[in-house]
């Protein structure tokens, strides 16, 4: 087909494999997300804490630098607790970022009724959701496991050899903890965004889904004199998960601590609920009604 002849010709070239189509959605999703100046601003803010932690690692591992700032003693100890603090900081910043960018991924498709046209192409509902999920996971990776692993590798490089050998599981734990959190956050963000038409409201709703049940759980704990209300408290549950994955000292006392199977069951249940919400909404909007 020539631009000058304005004549229609069918495409006769080779097409890409079906399994690559979610990657197209992810690529365009990323482009859409990072077109927002606020998203870029949030990313920059989210990368400030790792810089602070980087300086702390540098000071901890460099006696000359410590001498220059006037503190010769072991003010900073690089251990599980240090990386737990880093992981938790980054993961909560990821929540802020997800609350802003998740609605951009889905809301624009829903606002202009783009789903019938998108899904009339050779992609399934699952592929569509998976593509958006990949875009969100990738975006959140920039502020969670990637800076954590970079700092971990820097610590491995700058510390004496025994530290690396003794703390290898710490890196795996950080990566697993961050991936678990951003997967949950991505499902939550996409599910809430698919049900709320306005982006700003969707952003608020994502925070509400995380923090309102925590308040309800706290009330349940106080009234019923139990600890099981913590199962509604995502921040507490995730802190417990990260602490156990990193092998850091316990955050809650043993009476308040939740058993790992209960935490796992609640997280799986929450993920299934978010996935079902998302599927129901996309299914309802995939064809033109009426």
């Amino acid at each position: 087909m020539s631009v000058f002849h304005h004549d229609y010709q069918a495409f006769t070239g080779r097409v890409t494999p079906l399994w690559t189509r979610p990657l197209v959605l992810a690529r365009y999703g990323l482009k859409e997300v990072w077109a927002s100046k606020i998203a870029v601003g949030l990313l920059v803010l989210s990368l400030l804490p790792p810089i602070v932690f980087l300086v702390m690692i540098y000071l901890a591992d460099n006696p000359v630098a410590r001498a220059l700032v006037g503190r010769e003693s072991d003010l900073i100890t690089i251990n599980e607790r240090f990386f737990l603090r880093l992981l938790a900081t980054q993961c909560w910043l990821a929540l802020v970022l997800a609350a802003w960018i998740a609605p951009r991924l889905i809301a624009s498709d829903l606002a202009d009724n783009a789903l019938p046209i998108l899904l009339s192409h050779p992609i399934s509902r699952f592929s569509y959701i998976f593509g958006k999920f990949l875009a969100l996971i990738t975006s959140l990776s920039y502020v969670t496991w990637i800076p954590c692993i970079v700092l971990f590798l820097y610590q491995c490089y700058s510390s004496p050899q025994p530290w690396t050998l003794a703390h290898l599981p710490l890196g795996m734990g950080m990566m697993a903890g961050a991936l678990l959190w951003i997967a949950l956050l991505s499902l939550l963000g996409l599910a809430v965004s698919s049900w709320v038409k306005w982006r700003v409201v969707a952003t608020g709703a994502i925070f509400a889904v995380v923090f309102v049940p925590a308040g309800v759980g706290g009330i349940a704990n106080a009234i019923l004199r139990t600890r099981w209300g913590f199962l509604l408290n995502i921040p507490v549950m995730m802190s417990e998960v990260w602490q156990r994955l990193l092998g850091a000292p316990a955050i809650l006392n043993s009476l308040m601590s939740m058993p790992t199977p209960a935490i796992a069951a609640v997280l799986i249940l929450a993920s299934l609920v978010f996935a079902a919400m998302l599927n129901a909404r996309i299914r309802a909007r995939e064809v033109v009604r009426g």
Binding site: V3, Y8, A10, F11, R21, V24, D112, A114
Partner: protein, 315 residues
Amino acid sequence: MGVIDLDRLVVQLGGRTVLDGLAGELRGHAIGLLGPNGAGKSTLINTLLGFHTPASGNARVLGLDARSDRMRIRQSVGYMPENDSFIGNLNGVHFVRYMAELAGLPPGEALERAHEALFFVGLGEVRYRKISTYSLGMKQLIKLAQALAHGPRLLILDEPTNGLDPSARQRMIQLIKDIRRQGSTRLLISSHLLRDIDDTCDEVLILNKGRVAAISNIEEERRSHRNFIELETEGSAEAFVHKMRGAGCECASFPGGRVKLVMPDAITLRDVYVAAADSGVQIRRIQQRRDSLEDIFMRAVDYEGGRVEHVSLPS
């Protein structure tokens, strides 16, 4: 192998039977899908695209099973939905390229085809504008461009002239004719505007209450040169109608002395005048025309039987 094969297709939505035993084979180059509101046109299109699973029976698109080959069907089909459906904050090129990549074109090819498709539909000058700023006619055209960009073997157009002003409608009809003339793409055009179908299609599937009311080859009907005559008469038309039926005409009389005749080749206009004179009827006005799609449609939607029937007239 037909473009679309329907084999006793039944589709139920929410426990309600929307498509009830559709059967037939559509072979036309441009197939019109006609029917009153609620006849099941959109449901049939959605079923062909694999959005609805048949309760029983089956449908085949380009020889592919609508149940098991959904992805291959969507790969081969370009779909232009009836309602507004786009991503408003993307510009024209970006949107069409996105859709072409989803259809399987490599990024470079998709970009090239996006530009070409936009020029083809006449949006070349506005291709870098955000779609949300487009007029209604432009939005219809960008939907057509995205459906075309990946070079589908079958193009499904759902109400393509919906909401267009006469000149935009004419432009859309011309584009459809151009695509049809080029020959590599089959067309399935759903519309409630008979004129659009008449202008663009060579075969028509008429649905009524979820059933096939008729499958008609418009081209054959056109070729058959059957003469339809509308008369306005003065006097008792009953004897005249009786006489014409006796001569082999198909007749229908209406209040006010209006009579419609289908004349076999052996009957001439002179025979009509003679029969009128013999019956004591004055012919005040006579209009000779071919069988229109409207006639086919009106007969089909009045048809209450469940059997698939090719609408044709006795010769």
